[in-house]
Structure formats: structure tokens, C-alpha cells
């Protein structure tokens, strides 16, 4: 693991972006985009999670291996979601 000390600026920028994204996601929720509402909300959530993982959790400064470990959980969750929902979507 690297011991890079991340600069204060980076942390502050990350934090501010997170807060802005939070506001955006709430605002967007009140606008009717049809099916896109869910997509937008999830896209923003993913973006927020990525910011936290990259900067607060120092993945950006870590090794490839840590990337793999961090990604694995989400990847397997995606497998489960996709296959289960494929079943429901193709019934009848």
C-alpha cells in the first residue's frame, strides 16, 4: 500500500463534489424524466461512490490488486442482479 499523503485540496474538492452531487440528485428526483429518473439517480450514486472509493479510500493511489479487490464485490453483485432480473424480465 502506498503511503501517499493526499493533499488537503483533493479532499476538499472531493467533499464539495459529493455535496453538489447530493443536491443534484435531490433536485433531479423532482423533475419528471420518466424512466430516466431511476437511471439518473443511480448514475449519480455510482459517481458518488466512485469518488469516495478513489479519493477517500485511497484506491487511486493503491495497487492494481486493490482495484481488483474493490471491484470484485460490485462485479459479483452485478452478476446476481442481472441474472435474477433476466429471469423476471423474460417470464411469459
Amino acid at each position: 500500500m502506498s503511503h501517499t499523503v493526499v493533499s488537503l485540496k483533493t479532499y476538499i474538492a472531493t467533499f464539495v463534489s459529493l455535496m453538489v452531487l447530493l443536491i443534484i440528485t435531490v433536485v433531479v428526483a423532482y423533475v419528471d424524466l420518466g424512466e430516466l429518473n431511476l437511471a439518473a439517480a443511480m448514475a449519480i450514486a455510482v459517481l458518488k461512490a466512485v469518488l469516495i472509493i478513489l479519493f477517500f479510500m485511497h484506491i487511486r493511489y493503491g495497487r492494481k490488486l486493490t482495484w481488483v479487490f474493490a471491484g470484485a464485490g460490485f462485479f459479483w453483485l452485478a452478476i446476481m442482479l442481472i441474472f435474477v432480473m433476466c429471469d423476471y424480465a423474460t417470464r411469459h
Binding site: A72, W76, I79, M80, F83, V84, C86, A89, T90, R91
Partner: protein, 542 residues
């Protein structure tokens, strides 16, 4: 024992065992625990087989029969087979094989053993209080609304034991990544390590889903709200998805370690380098990963969508390819070897034969149209016993015999070992082969009574089980016997190459006097001039 050099067994106090963080001692603790659970589950099997001697036997009540197979399934799967090779043999040999002093998190390792037994006690408590009759699969809405007995207690037992699994898996992954001795590159790892690494991936990524699913069942049963009961607006098939998302990968938890052991045994006893090292290594990973994509083959007739069924069917065929690769490579390894028939090797041969049959019948079940007929019949029962008993249990026995000199410092009686292996093999086939025919005839599973025309096969099966039981009892007896009267083992009785054989038998407390430096690939055996072999490492100051 004062005349012996100090080793991991030297200290004798109970405290020194219960508070140990030594991976070898934890392996032994696990061994003791799983033997107890196995004995209980096997006794349940014996009762079931006796009940099935006659079409309408009244040896046990229907409720009791249902509780017996639930007990049998739950204990065998979660409290015997899943921890068998990983937590016993894996714990014992992984650190030694890769040249480490211990696993990465010894305290978590001990915690895992405690959690395991707390879980086991919960499960047994549920049984003592009156039992559970859901089957090991806990299908809803039966388990949530209609079942009798202490379902929640049983579920909590499995839930807790799940965390023991997770801790074991986590420990192995980190140990294998971070604790390898200098020179021990990935492609110098023994194949046993590769297989346990793959197993650990499954343990870590699948078990949490089981945990949350069981938790949801418990909530639903206790408070009558939930997502799995159609009466409450939910869907029972969703439960099956989530259960099998864990439980199919879990069946690979119950075979990959066995494949790892067999890879060790085949090379050692044919004194040959493994054929196709990379293929065998990566096929383990492939099984672990693709194995996550096939769970729906347990649900072909559950009313899941036709298309989902087809996708799961084709993936189930594909997942057989890496298994095929392994079988072929083992066979090729024997070519031009120098093969001896010591007990572990007999078990390895047994494994290859029975696993192949079990796996091929798995393909019958994966063929979606045929599964419509065979689903939930004794064909399935025979399929999984061929793999789990014929495959995994035999390889566990093989591994235990192989490493016994290292574990105990004593030799087991070789002749008895060979006889027991033969008895097990014969008893096994007599027990479970007739079940394929039964299943094809249409005998459903989980039936305490059946039409009279099926009786012949049931009688054969019960006869086989009593022989099989003897096959299990013999090693139990002679292993215990050898502890006191067995010949002392040398450090490397099999002339094997692995690092675990380069320390004393039994090993030192921290395994090695000095961490070895690995200089070559594993399995550098020389069949031309056996028993010559090149150990994998040189001592640091040689």
C-alpha cells in the same frame, strides 16, 4: 515426550489448545469438530437407510424421517464438507506449503473455529429441541410459514457458521497473496494452493448472500413480513434464486479443495511433474468464476422463465469443461510415471473414477429437458453423493492419510489403509449406483415411503451403506491407534517435494527454523530414477 524436539504438539494444557492461534492446532481443532458433526449426520443417514428398507416401513415417523434428512443435509454440507478440506487440511498445510509461519490473521482463524462451533451448537440445539423438517434447502413458503420446529435456531446456526467460512476464506486469500516465502511465485505454488485460493473466492463472495437470505427467512418466520411469501405479496422463486446463488458455488467449495488434494497425490505417487500445470491451476479459477453463473439449473422446473432456464443450462455445460481439463491432465500425469499404490493414491484413483461419474451425471441434469424428469428424484441424490462422497470425502481421506505423518508424527498402518480404501469404494458404489436407477424410475427424494416396485434398489443401497459405514469406521480406529502405537514418521516419508515436507514431523511451532527460499517449480519428481526428487526450496543458510 521430553526426549522429542519441541514441536507444535509439545504443550499439553487444555488452555494452550483453546487459546491457540497456531494454524496447525486450529486445523486439528477443526478436525475434531467435523468428526463429531459427521458422526451425527452419518447416524442420521443410517437411520434413513434403515427406514427405506421397506416400502412402508414404520421404523420412524414421517416427521422424524423429514427431520433426519434435514439434519443429515445441514450437518453434512455446512458442518462437515465445507470445512473438511479447507479448514482442516488447508489450515494445516497452506502456511507450510507457501513457506509462512502462520496464516495472515491467526486470531481471526481461532475466532472462526469458535464461531463454527457456536453455529454447530445452535444447529444441534434446534435438533434436540425437536428438530427441523425443511430440508437443507429451506424452501419458502414452507420454511417461513408452514414448517414445524425450530427453523430459526437452525438458520442462526448456519448463519453463524457462515461467518466462520468467510473468515477462513478471507484468511486464505490474504495469506496466499501476502505470506509467500521468497521465491514462491504464483506459478511455483502447489496446485492445492491454487484450488484453495479459488475456493476462498467463493467462500468470501457467496457466503454473505446466504447469510442475508437466511436472515430474511428468520425475519419472515418470526414476524410474518417478507419478500418470499406469495401471501404477503412476495415471491418464493426469488428465495430460490438467492439460495442457489450461494449454494451452487458452494458445491464447488465442496469439490475444488478435493481436486487440489488429488493433484498433490497424483504427482507424488506417480513421481511425476503434473501434466499441464497452468491448465490445472487456471481451471480452478475458471470453475470458481463460471460456477457463479449456473445456479438456475436447480430451478429448471420452478417456474423460472424458459429463457433463463436455457441460459443456465448452457452455462452448466460450459462449467464442466474446466473439470474435464483436470481429469484429462491427471490421467496424462500418470503416463510414464512410476506409480505406487499407497493408500492416498488409492483414494485419488477412487476420486477420479467417482467424480467423473458424478460429473457426467451432472450433465444429464444440466440437459434441461432431461432434468424435467430427473429433478428431485434419487438421480439427483446419486449425482451429488457421487461427487460429494465419492469425490470430496474420498479426497479428504486421501489427504488425511497423506499428511497424517506430518500432522501426528506417526505412520498409519499401510495395509489397513488399503483395505479401508477398497471397502469404502465398494460400499460406496453399492450404496449409490442403484440410486441412479431409482431416480430414473421416478422415485422422488425426501420420501419416507415408496411404491413396492422400487424396493430392490433401496435394499441394495442400504446394504451398501452398511459396508460404506465400515469403510469410514476403519480409518477412525487405526488413526487413533497410530497416535500411540504407530511407527514414528520421518520428516518426509513420501519423498515429496513440497515445503511442508522440509520441516520436521510434527512441524515446529512456527513451521520452519528459517523461512525457506524457493528455487523451483513444485513437483520436480524424477520418475526415471525414483525415489529421487528435488525439494522445492533450499534452507536459507545451506
Amino acid at each position: 515426550m521430553s526426549h522429542e524436539p519441541e514441536n507444535y504438539l509439545t504443550e499439553h494444557s487444555v488452555r494452550s489448545w483453546l487459546l491457540t492461534t497456531d494454524h496447525k492446532r486450529i486445523g486439528i481443532l477443526y478436525l475434531l469438530s467435523i468428526v463429531v458433526y459427521f458422526a451425527i449426520a452419518a447416524a442420521a443417514a443410517a437411520m434413513m437407510r434403515l427406514q427405506l428398507l421397506q416400502p412402508n416401513n414404520d421404523l420412524v415417523l414421517p416427521e422424524t424421517y423429514n427431520k433426519l434428512f434435514t439434519l443429515h443435509g445441514v450437518l453434512m454440507v455446512w458442518f462437515f464438507l465445507i470445512p473438511s478440506i479447507p479448514a482442516v487440511l488447508g489450515n494445516f498445510v497452506i502456511p507450510m506449503m507457501i513457506g509462512a509461519r502462520d496464516v495472515a490473521f491467526p486470531k481471526l482463524n481461532l475466532l472462526s473455529w469458535y464461531l463454527f462451533n457456536i453455529g454447530g451448537s445452535c444447529a444441534l440445539y434446534a435438533v434436540i429441541c425437536g428438530g427441523v423438517d425443511t430440508g437443507w434447502t429451506f424452501y419458502t413458503p414452507y420454511s417461513t410459514t408452514y414448517a414445524n420446529g425450530h427453523v430459526v435456531t437452525m438458520i442462526m446456526g448456519v448463519f453463524i457458521a457462515g461467518f466462520a467460512s468467510i473468515l477462513t476464506g478471507l484468511n486464505f486469500i490474504i495469506t496466499i497473496h501476502k505470506m509467500r516465502a521468497p521465491g514462491m511465485t504464483w506459478f511455483r505454488l502447489p496446485l492445492f494452493i491454487w484450488s484453495l485460493y479459488s475456493t476462498s473466492i467463493i467462500l468470501v463472495l457467496a457466503t454473505p448472500v446466504l447469510a442475508i437470505t437466511l436472515l430474511a427467512i428468520a425475519v419472515e418466520r418470526l414476524w410474518g413480513v417478507g419478500i418470499f411469501d406469495p401471501n404477503l405479496g412476495g415471491d418464493p422463486v426469488l428465495f430460490q434464486h438467492m439460495f442457489w446463488f450461494y449454494s451452487h458455488p458452494a458445491v464447488y467449495i465442496m469439490i475444488l479443495p478435493g481436486m487440489g488434494v488429488v493433484s498433490e497425490l497424483i504427482t507424488c505417487f506417480s513421481r511425476k511433474r503434473i501434466f499441464g500445470y497452468h491448465f490445472v491451476a487456471f481451471s480452478s479459477l475458471a470453475i470458481a468464476i463460471v460456477g457463479f453463473l449456473v445456479w438456475g439449473h436447480h430451478m429448471f422446473v420452478s417456474s423460472q422463465s424458459v429463457y433463463a432456464g436455457m441460459v443456465f443450462s448452457i452455462l452448466s455445460f460450459i462449467v464442466a469443461v474446466p473439470s474435464a481439463i483436470k481429469v484429462f491432465n491427471w490421467t496424462a500425469t500418470l503416463y510414464k510415471g512410476s506409480i505406487s499404490y499407497d493408500t492416498p493414491m488409492l483414494y485419488a484413483f477412487g476420486f477420479i473414477g467417482l467424480f467423473t461419474i458424478g460429473g457426467l451425471t451432472g450433465l444429464f441434469l444440466a440437459a434441461i429437458a432431461v432434468d424435467v424428469h430427473l429433478h428431485d428424484t434419487y438421480f439427483v441424490v446419486a449425482h451429488f453423493h457421487y461427487i460429494m462422497v465419492g469425490g470430496m470425502v474420498l479426497s479428504f481421506m486421501g489427504g488425511l492419510h497423506y499428511w497424517w505423518p506430518k500432522i501426528s508424527g506417526r505412520l498409519y498402518p499401510e495395509m489397513m489403509g488399503r483395505v479401508a480404501a477398497a471397502v469404502t469404494f465398494i460400499g460406496f458404489n453399492l450404496t449409490f449406483f442403484p440410486q441412479f436407477l431409482l431416480g430414473y424410475l421416478g422415485q422422488p427424494r425426501r420420501y419416507h415411503a415408496y411404491p413396492p416396485e422400487f424396493q430392490v434398489f433401496h435394499v441394495l443401497s442400504t446394504a451398501g451403506a452398511s459396508i460404506l459405514g465400515v469403510g469410514y469406521l476403519m480409518p477412525l480406529i487405526y488413526f487413533l491407534w497410530s497416535l500411540k502405537w504407530g511407527k514414528r514418521a520421518s520428516d518426509n516419508p513420501w519423498q515429496a517435494t513440497g515445503l511442508e515436507w522440509q520441516t520436521t514431523s510434527p512441524p515446529l511451532r512456527e513451521n520452519f527454523e528459517e523461512i525457506p527460499i524457493v528455487t523451483k517449480e513444485p513437483y520436480d519428481y524424477r520418475p526415471e530414477d525414483d525415489p529421487e526428487h528435488e525439494p522445492q526450496a533450499q534452507p536459507q543458510h545451506a
